[in-house]
Amino acid sequence: MQDKAKILEAKNITKIFQNGFGKKSICSLKNVDITLNEGEILGLMGPSGCGKSTLARILLRLLPTDSGEVLWKGEAITKKCGHQLLAFQRGVQFIPQRPESSFDPRLRLGKSVVEPLSFFKESWSEKNRKRLQVLLTQLSISEELLGRYPHQVSGGEIQRLALCRALLLQPEVLILDESTSMLDVSVQAQMIQILADLQEKHHLSYLFITHDRELANYFCNRIIVMEKGEILKKGILQN
C-alpha cells in the first residue's frame, strides 16, 4: 500500500494543568503521538476525562503544550503564532460538540457563516457566493435558515451550518469533537452520510472524536484509544 502523506501530526505531547497557585497539577496528556494521514478518517476514542478534547485543542493551537511538537504537513508549527499560522488556521477546522454554542447568539446565521472569510482578508465576491450556494445544496440547508438566529434552528440544522462555515474556507482537515453525540439517531445518520459525501468531494481528512464504539467502527478507517492521557492501542480497520 502506498505510504500516505502525513497531514497533521503531534509528537510527544505533554500537557500539565496547574490548579490553584501551582499546588495541584493534573497531567492531562503524557507523551502522546498521533498522526493523521491525508484522506483518512481517524477515530479517537476514550472515556470522558481521558484527554481527547485537550489533545484536539492542542492540535488546533488553541492551547499551548508543555513539551512536544505539532506538525502541519511536515512543518513544525508549535512555536509559530500570528500571521505565520494563517495557512494552518485555514487548513484545519473545528466542529464542536454543542451545536448551539458554536455561533455568536447575536448574529444572524448568514452573517456568522460568511464571517470567517474576513479573517483571511477575503472579500464577499461572486466566486464565494457561488461556492456558498453549492455548499448549501450539498448540506441540504435551505437559504431561509440563514436569516435566522442560532436559537431558532434545530440541533441537526446548526451542525450542518457549522460545517458550511468551516467548508467555506476550503480546509483540508476537519476535527470533529463528538459532533454527533447530541443529535438524535436519525439526524446523526444523516450527518454521517453528509460527512462521508463531503470527504469524497472535497478530499478531506477527519479526526473523529467519539465515545460511540459502533459509530467509530462504522465510520473510521483507523481508531486510536486513549485513557488517562495516554494512547492505549491503535486499531487498524480494513475499510
Partner: protein
C-alpha cells in the same frame, strides 16, 4: 395487590405561542400498565416529555390540555389542590438534567427534607429515613452526602440523589424524564443500575421517557414509540418492529448501517389529518394522508398503520 394503571384517552396538548398554536401531543390514547416498566422513546420534538409532564400536571401556563387522563379510577384532569398533593406522593418524578434540577444553594439534606415532608414524620425520623434512602441508592456515607451541596457531587451521584428524592414517599408510579440525557456512557450505566434497583425498592410501575435505545432495551418490559405527537407503536418494538417509522429509526443506528430517514417532502402540511409519518414514509399512500390509521394488534403489541400487521 393490583396497582393503578394510567389510562390516557384522546389526549392533546397545544401550546399557544406568538405565531399561533403548536400541537405537541396529538390525540394520544394509550394504557400504561401498572407492574411494568414502560419505555417511551422518540426523537427530539416528538412530544414525549410533554406527555410525561401532562400526566403530572406540570405543563406551563400557555399549554392547553384536551382529553382524559385516568389513574386507576381517579380522573387526573379535573382535580383540586388537595388531590394534586396526592399526585406528588403517588406518582413520583425523576427529572432530566440533574445539575439543573437541584437547587445549588441548598444542601442535599434540605432537598430530602422537603421531599419527605408529606409523610408527616418528626424531624429525627425524617433524618433517619433520608439516610436510609441514600443507603438504598448505593451511597456508603449518607451523612456526608446529606451535608453536601449539589455541585460537590459528581453527575452520577446527583442523579442518584434525584432518584432518592423522587422515591422518598414510596410512590406507586415513577416517571423518569430523560434520565440519561447528556451523560457519558459510564454515567448512563450507573443510572441504569439505579433505575433497575428501584424495582427492588418496591416501585411497581415506571414510565421511562428517553431517546437512549440501549437504556430502553435493558430496562423496559414494553416500549412505546412516539413521533410527531402520536404514539405509533407499542410492544416489543426493538426486536419486532412493525411500524415504518420504528423500522427506519432502528435502521439509522450505527450497528444497522446508519441509514438516514428520508427527508420531509416540502409542501406537505405539518399537521395533516392523517398519519403523522406519512410525509416521510416510503410506503405511504394517499389514504395515509387523509385518515388517521387504525389500531392493529393486541394489548401486548399494537401498531397504528394501514400497512403493517
Amino acid at each position: 395487590m393490583v396497582g393503578k394503571s394510567l389510562f390516557i384517552e384522546e389526549l392533546s396538548v397545544d401550546f399557544m405561542i406568538s405565531t399561533g398554536k403548536v400541537r405537541a401531543v396529538d390525540g394520544v390514547s394509550v394504557v400504561f400498565e401498572s407492574g411494568k416498566i414502560t419505555g417511551l422513546i422518540g426523537e427530539s420534538g416528538c412530544g414525549k416529555s410533554v406527555l410525561g409532564m401532562a400526566i403530572l400536571d406540570l405543563l406551563p401556563a400557555y399549554a392547553t390540555l384536551n382529553g382524559k387522563i385516568d389513574w386507576g379510577e381517579q380522573s387526573l384532569n379535573e382535580y383540586s389542590i388537595r388531590k394534586r398533593k396526592l399526585l406528588g406522593r403517588e406518582i413520583g418524578l425523576i427529572p432530566q438534567s440533574p445539575s439543573e434540577s437541584l437547587n445549588p444553594s441548598r444542601k442535599v439534606k434540605a432537598h430530602l427534607n422537603e421531599a419527605l415532608r408529606p409523610l408527616g414524620l418528626k424531624r429525627q425520623e425524617r433524618y433517619k429515613k433520608a439516610e436510609k434512602l441514600l443507603r438504598d441508592f448505593g451511597f456508603n456515607e449518607p451523612k456526608r452526602i446529606l451535608k453536601a451541596y449539589p455541585h460537590e457531587l459528581s453527575g452520577g451521584m446527583q442523579q442518584r440523589v434525584l432518584c432518592a428524592i423522587g422515591t422518598a414517599c414510596s410512590p406507586e408510579w415513577i416517571i423518569a424524564d430523560e434520565p440519561t440525557k447528556g451523560l457519558d456512557s459510564e454515567l448512563c450505566k450507573q443510572v441504569q443500575q439505579t433505575l433497575q434497583s428501584l424495582r427492588i425498592q418496591g416501585i411497581k410501575s415506571m414510565l421511562v421517557i428517553t431517546h437512549d435505545l440501549q437504556l430502553a432495551e435493558d430496562l423496559c418490559d414494553t416500549i412505546a414509540v412516539m413521533y410527531g405527537g402520536q404514539i405509533v407503536e407499542m410492544g416489543d418494538v426493538l426486536h419486532h418492529p412493525l411500524h415504518p417509522y420504528t423500522k427506519a429509526f432502528l435502521d439509522a443506528l450505527p450497528k444497522n448501517g446508519l441509514h438516514p430517514i428520508s427527508q420531509i417532502n416540502k409542501g406537505v402540511e405539518q399537521y395533516s389529518k392523517g398519519c403523522c409519518f406519512a410525509a416521510r414514509c416510503l410506503k405511504s399512500r394517499p389514504r395515509c394522508f387523509q385518515e388517521k390509521p387504525p389500531y392493529k394488534g393486541d394489548k401486548m403489541h399494537w401498531v397504528r398503520c394501514f400497512d403493517a400487521g
